[in-house]
Symmetry: C2
């Protein structure tokens, strides 16, 4: 047994996350988590040629159905989810069916929402094939789709029956997407686990180069931090919002430039640097610590500059429909100190504007 | 206080149902169940001219937003729910908003699903204005929309914060719709509460003529029966399926003839008579009891004949995508005896075919 197991405990909806190589081919383990006789694999055009057939081999004995969606965040829509419903109905899937998400976060989010909503809820299993989805989407049960007026505005909380994080899949992942995933890994260190941040400063190249031991530790530690936060706050009333470090700025960037221009993790890296910048202005962290964050991102080729085309007004407009706005008051995840984030609505408005007007966050004037 | 209160206890999601006249104008009571500063009233073209303004009066002090949808089951679609999302986003509703469903079951189902899915869940309140929605949709948390391939195939379980059943609204309800609601009231007696069925045999005209005391009792008793069943089985694994008495046949009729030809409760009345007919063939209830059911429906002008145009094959085709089919095996709600329904997949197939070929269910050959 060369994989690790992490149990996510959420009251009556606990489930295991398996982390290691060769999980997609582990037929016996996967089938343990399928209670009916029929499954629908939901995947996309990029992942299907790589892993669909080997997954189908592992599902031998079951009635296997599949739907291959176009690849990309721009297809994470209610229309695409509706095409899953149509497929399920045309192929007479009952309430006993299991949906299997084979792909990255977009596939996981849509499959989870489809599973939450089809006949008001069927089982689902996640096989995340990107680092981002392995460290982010596999814990917490957030599913959903984008709306033309905002990201992730429609969805459900839905826990999977099990998550199979096959680290082999990272070998076929473009470096750019690997980096985008590392951006979220760094986030976990920054918000709540300073020792993990220090470990990342020593080991980030090991993740980027897919050293098996390093990558397993990074994924497991990320899932542990996220599970810890989610456990404290399953429905996101409070502390869970810390996971949105960099996301309010990041979402504004994604919305303004159109989905697909920056990868989600790339936009979050820029957003995290912006939150860090504002935290320096607020006197919460030092300039030196701020530069540590920028340099860690740069070591894995993540963007750390604000888009040239975006004005402060662009940011404000896009941020105000973000979910992090409560009753009209902008709340941001900022640093209290290194390795400890807080949710704040009491930052100085002029310092926020200064941040929104900055392009290179090494510069303070 | 001329209203009655019924508390629906569902673990951490309990809520009250208020039943009586003049509830829409009871500003103080309604506002007790709104925690944010902003609301969106979701209603339709038929109900809006009658009750929208008086509801808005009761919401004075809050930021009131409204969306008026077209009226009819044919608009109970994902597209219509998406128009609610668009409205919410355009008007910058946050997670703290409350959606208020003002209308019948279609409005309640769509508003509930929108509330379940908008930003992965916001509060909602139900003000059901039809008898059907007062006795059916207000307990159990089932929300959702139709798909062109089947009714209620997409949705969520979502409990309201409170239900305000204003019996005054029944005065503006067409008699045909009142009867459709009575069809569901009769169902509660039939599946589990024989004494209530006997009470209905004595009092059904009192409901049809809107005697306040009679109507309050009928609504309350219906909600109690439903709450009892739902409490035993919140996620519909077992006993809750009894509530689908007449629904598998009824849904097939609605799907085959197109939504809107028969009211839901009318189709359920026919479906209930079909279930009763098959139960006679199976030797579970007597011919005389079967005729009691037909005659009770006839006293409030409900249809009791199968549609001339539908063949047995039409029924079978439409029933096989119904949610009540588990792994390819048709399950029906049938009678074990009068006042006691069971879920069965062991009925005689030929007797089912005979039922599906029958038009007038007084005839046994």
């Amino acid at each position: 047994m060369n994989y690790q197991t992490l149990k996510v405990d959420l009251a009556d909806r606990s489930y295991p996350i398996f982390i290691g190589p060769d999980l997609i081919t582990n037929s016996k383990l996967i089938q343990k988590y399928i209670s009916g006789k029929k499954v629908l694999i939901v995947t996309n055009e990029t992942v299907a040629p790589l892993y669909l057939d080997i997954l189908k081999n592992s599902l031998e004995g079951l009635e296997i159905d599949q739907i291959i969606l176009p690849d990309g965040e721009q297809f994470k829509t209610l229309d695409t989810v509706n095409s899953i419903f149509t497929h399920l109905l045309e192929n007479k899937h009952s309430r006993k069916t299991t949906l299997i998400a084979l792909g990255g976060g977009v596939i996981g989010d849509m499959t989870g929402f489809a599973a939450a909503s089809y006949q008001r809820g069927v089982d689902f299993i996640q096989i995340p094939t990107t680092l981002l989805s392995q460290v982010d989407s596999s814990v917490g049960g957030k599913t959903g789709v984008n709306h033309k007026l905002g990201k992730n505005m429609i969805g459900a909380f839905k826990q999977p029956k099990a998550v199979f994080t096959d680290t082999n899949t990272l070998k076929t992942l473009p470096k750019k997407e690997l980096a985008a995933g590392i951006s979220e890994v760094v986030k976990y260190g920054l918000i709540i686990d300073y020792l993990f941040f220090e470990w990342l400063e020593k080991n980030i190249e090991g993740i980027y180069e897919l050293d098996e031991k390093t990558i397993q530790y990074a994924i497991k530690q990320s899932c542990l931090v996220k599970a810890d936060v989610v456990n404290q706050d399953e429905l996101e009333a409070g502390v869970r919002a810390l996971l949105n470090l960099g996301h309010t700025f990041g979402h504004a960037i994604e919305t303004a430039l159109g989905y697909g221009k920056y990868l989600h993790g790339e936009a979050v890296a820029i957003g995290t640097v912006m939150a860090s910048y504002l935290s320096v202005l607020e006197g919460k962290i030092s300039y030196a610590d701020h530069i540590r964050i920028i340099e860690l991102f740069e070591r894995v080729d993540l963007p750390v500059l604000a888009p040239e085309s975006m004005t402060a007004d662009d940011f404000i407009e896009k941020m105000s429909v973000d979910k992090k706005v409560l009753d009209g008051k902008l709340r941001l995840v900022l640093f209290e100190k290194m390795g400890e984030a807080i949710i704040s609505d009491s930052f100085d408005q002029e310092k926020l504007i200064q941040t929104l007007n900055t392009k290179n966050f090494r510069n303070f004037s």
